[in-house]
Amino acid sequence: MAPSLFSQLSTLGACLALLYGLLLLWRRNLGSYVDAFQGQSVVLAVLFGVVGYFGHDPELYFVATVFVALKVFLMPYYLRRMQDRFAVERERDPYLNVPASLILAGLLVILAYAVMRPVVTISSLPTRSGLPLALALVFIGLLVILTRKKAFTQVVGFLILENGITLLALLGTYGIPLIVELGVFLDALMGFLVMQIFIYQLHGTFESIDVDQLNQLRH
């Protein structure tokens, strides 16, 4: 059965978003993380537009615009400002080394497929083949938060996780109602600002944004 153009595009978009997420597990310097997040957000915004077009839901165009404003311009701007201050830091020695993280990410994709299988078989939406990839993106965001040492990376990981949930909502239900979407954006923005403050404080106390330094508070 030949997949429709809508289906192909949504799967391709989800795939691209996942690949940007993998970039966080591969690269070591903080600037590339911001680039990855930005690229992923662009893909997501385009996907919002595509779903809005094929799903005949003009509300989604508005959501896409807010998305672009927030996640392609505002948040990366703040992230880059932070990164300029901490540019010397790199993810040198994560808890799980790069090849192992990548292989684990591959296995997590398989897990996502296994978990999502009942949903995909039952669903009749054209976007259903992208659902496992969105869930995999959530897993990968979680993996980044768990295995990386720098607070900056963890923040970007959290943002990726959030993107994954948004993607899941988009593909699974053609986007959630506008009011809920705006609420989620506000939430994310608040959380992001709090984390920003946290990182600046961390750097002020320890001269480094290595989260492991928090262990020193014990003594």
């Binding site: 799980l96 080394n97 090849p99 192992a100 398989i110 497929y113 296994a114 299988r117």
Partner: protein, 678 residues
Amino acid sequence: MIDTLFIGMILAYGFGASAALVFGRGSIGRWLVAVGSVLGAGAGLAIGIAVIAAGTPVEASIPGLFSFAGGLLVRLDSLGAFFLILIGLGAIPTALYGASYSKTYEDGRGSLRQLGLMLNLFLFSMSLVVMAGNIFTFLFAWECMSLTSYFLVITEANEPETLGAGSWYLAMAHISLVFLTILFLLLSGGDWSASFNSLRSGAAVLSSPLRNVLFVLALIGFGLKAGIVPLHVWLPLAHPVAPSHVSALMSGVLIKMGIYGLLRVVLDLLGGGPAWWGGVVLGVGSVSAVLGVLYALMEHDLKRLLAFHSVENIGIILIGIGAGLIFRSYGLITLALLGFIGGLYHTLNHAVFKGLLFLGAGSVLHATHTRNVEKMGGLIKSMPWTAFFFLIGAAAISALPPLNGFVSEWLVFQALLGGFQIPKPEMAIIMPLAVGMLALTSGLAAACFVKAFGITFLAIPRSPEAEQAHESSWSMRLGMGMFAVLCVALGVLPFAVVPQLSRVMTGLGGLPASPAAFSFNLTLQSPAAFGQMSPPIIALGLVVILGLIPVGMRIFRINQKRRVSATWACGQISQTPRMEYTATAFAEPLRRVFAQLFRPTKELSIDFHPDSKYFVQSIEYRSEILPWFERFLYRPLLEMFHFSARQVRRLQSGSLHLYLLYTSLALVLLLVVARWIK
């Protein structure tokens, strides 16, 4: 005719064993032992071929012997015949090699009488294992096999590590026997005299949980012998300390008895099972393959390296068998057959190339008196034949075309690639993972053998022992040469072998016979012509091209002059052995890549000059890789045993009165129990 061959086999082995006892030291004894083994193995080979050609099983029994356990029953079907052929092909070159190799024991380092006697008994008991037709014969032969091989392993009993390795081997062989005893007990429902035929028909009505338990018991019991991870620890201990031709036999033939047992019980007697059985076998096989080759990479003892590679190849065989079991449970019979054939072909190939490699290692050990690769080098010039045969073995085990390793790995790959036909995606997804792991092992094996061959044979000798090396005697070369010829033949003529393997699997566990399904003219092809390949044409093409290149160069008048001079090495003045790459250095990048798996321990101690800390007097660096099954599985187990043994020792106070008290108490207790419990 088969009866005469069988009697001939018994006589030949008996002759070899008695020749060992009678003639003892001296070349006549060694040669008669070898002749006995060769004739016995040859008879076995002939029996095997005859049975496969005939297609019907052969039975013989001596009910009078051991009648309390159902008598000695011999039943040889195609599966057993295949393994009998394997024993024969493995034993003949090895025995010839051993005739000259065991000359080193004439100075008393090891008992030649014991070696010769046990060798013949070992070969005979292995043959009996595959010919066993009832429980008792099987277990009896299994135990004889373990005992005789134990004595073979501890031949060089004066070496420090030998006895320890022998104890490990004996302990694990007996644990395997315990598991197998429980297995057969449960399978036969307590009937000790049951024959395999009755077991087969009885197994059909066994309940499902019981069958699962039986499967696990079989996997552990036979896996201990085959050497799957984590039950493999005896392999790298026992194989290096045994005499080299014994190591070749153990690695090539003995561990295959585990595979035989697994096939016999799981596929034949139990008739196959649910898909998770195959999944477990596949998983265990993949893990063994990858871990085996990773630990092999880090070894510098040539024979330990080869022993770890045996673990790897058993893993590959189990990948094929596991795939076959999975396909069988889903009714994909042709693919199942392909998986089993791939596994069996690899069994045969491994026996041949591992035998070759161990014999080569034995020649090197014989010539340089060391197993440490770091002390060798330059042997290709002093031992050209050994080097050439070892190279063929190394190329074969790295699955390079057109040799035999490539053919069996191709078959296993094709079986795994058919995995997309499995209806359940959760099960089907392990096939690509297995493909990835299989490819990783073959790449790592190639890297390991570049290291093993390159450091041992190439460049310049790294120690005085390597400088004085000499070529092995003609019979050692003959043994290696026979294996090398087999490597090439099995690689170039698979279209003749695969149909026979198809017949071997006939009727087992519901597999039908379809001899021509996997080969067509000179090519091998997988079902629905998914993949097709012709090794003889590839070999021919390679030979023709290699022959035409010099011709072409002469036609184009290319400069043919050649001068020998000092090594350039970017302008170095002189070249000493210290400048060569070492084996540790060669494996270093891979060690770093897999560091989280190996977890090497590092110790660095720097001695500074007493007057100033800016001057370093000496640096000591020590790094060790301890496999973590040893650290987390075996050490705690051994600690537990020691602890409980210490507790039990409290009972031994040394007081005679206390011991008498124990005995009387036991007697009273027995009487009470017998009187009041009817």
